[in-house]
Symmetry: C2
Subunit: 143 residues, 2 copies
DNA sequence: GTGTTTGCAAATAGTTTGCAAGAAC
DNA sequence: GTTCTTGCAAACTATTTGCAAACAC
């Protein structure tokens, strides 16, 4: 139970209720789950925690700065967050149901590294999002 | 001079001063030039045109819907626009100087199509942005 | 003329910030 | 006890919308 506390301390952040709770929510997420600040805020409310939305934003920003989470901007709207993992991965987003799938293709990274090399760029980050629709049952429940 | 008028008509848009002027600004852009609504608004002001910022947004949105321009969201901030071209291309963005380079790698598209296939997704669009820094002279003039 | 488009001001969505009160160490 | 953190309300940024006046055709 104190595992997340270690993570927080390691990141130079004091162990406070909002940070622990938010970290736990992110930890519980399955692959492909991404939360917006608002999502997290709502979950906290449901859990009866008294945490302000502004704090959720602040904590997520701190987590991002500490490398604990990564932030994504799917289709322009709000940001969503997920716990950072070691292996880089890219995202497929269904524009109908909002579902997100992840994938990782070493060959793509390889090619992009070469492109950067040729252009004289030193890449620090990339975003690769595929938008489309699930072919299988995909109820338009973009809640 | 009436070429852009043709484009507008083809898109089902009446030929009005704001639309023509905005189209011309986009047309003048070199490869890698991307304008935000604000950029375009400022250029119009400098040219002495009396066009509202809201109109710039409306026109750009209409152009996008008509397939005349594509919209990009580089690093979260505001949207930028460029005239749509036939060949798909991806972007490299320098986070120091803001410069944008374009590239196109058929092999990447090929791999991504395969990924989508395997995941049972039907891709309609993708965004692939590489962020980093120019290795050569790149004055931090991210104006 | 009639329907579209525009400019302006006000509204909106997502996110950030100032500040005094409260918690961590 | 001192410094970091929080909650709230207010500010901010990018963008959108309502509406009456102006324009395209």
């Amino acid at each position: 139970m104190a595992l997340e506390n270690q993570e927080l301390r390691k990141a130079g952040l004091k162990v406070t209720l909002p940070r622990v709770k938010i970290y736990q929510i992110l930890e519980r997420a399955g692959e492909g789950d991404h939360f917006s600040a608002e999502d997290i805020y709502k979950i906290l409310m449901e859990q009866g925690e008294d945490v302000g939305l502004a704090t959720v934003y602040r904590v997520l920003t701190q987590f991002e700065a500490a490398g604990l989470v990564s932030r994504h901007h799917f289709e322009g709207a709000h940001s969503v967050f997920e716990l950072a993992r070691d292996e880089h991965h890219d995202h497929v987003v269904c524009v109908k149901c909002g579902k997100v799938r992840e994938f990782s293709e070493p060959k793509v990274s390889e090619i992009l590294d070469k492109v950067a090399e040729e252009l004289g760029f030193s890449i620090t980050e990339r975003t690769l999002y595929l938008y489309g629709t699930c072919k299988d049952g995909c109820e338009d429940d973009k809640a």
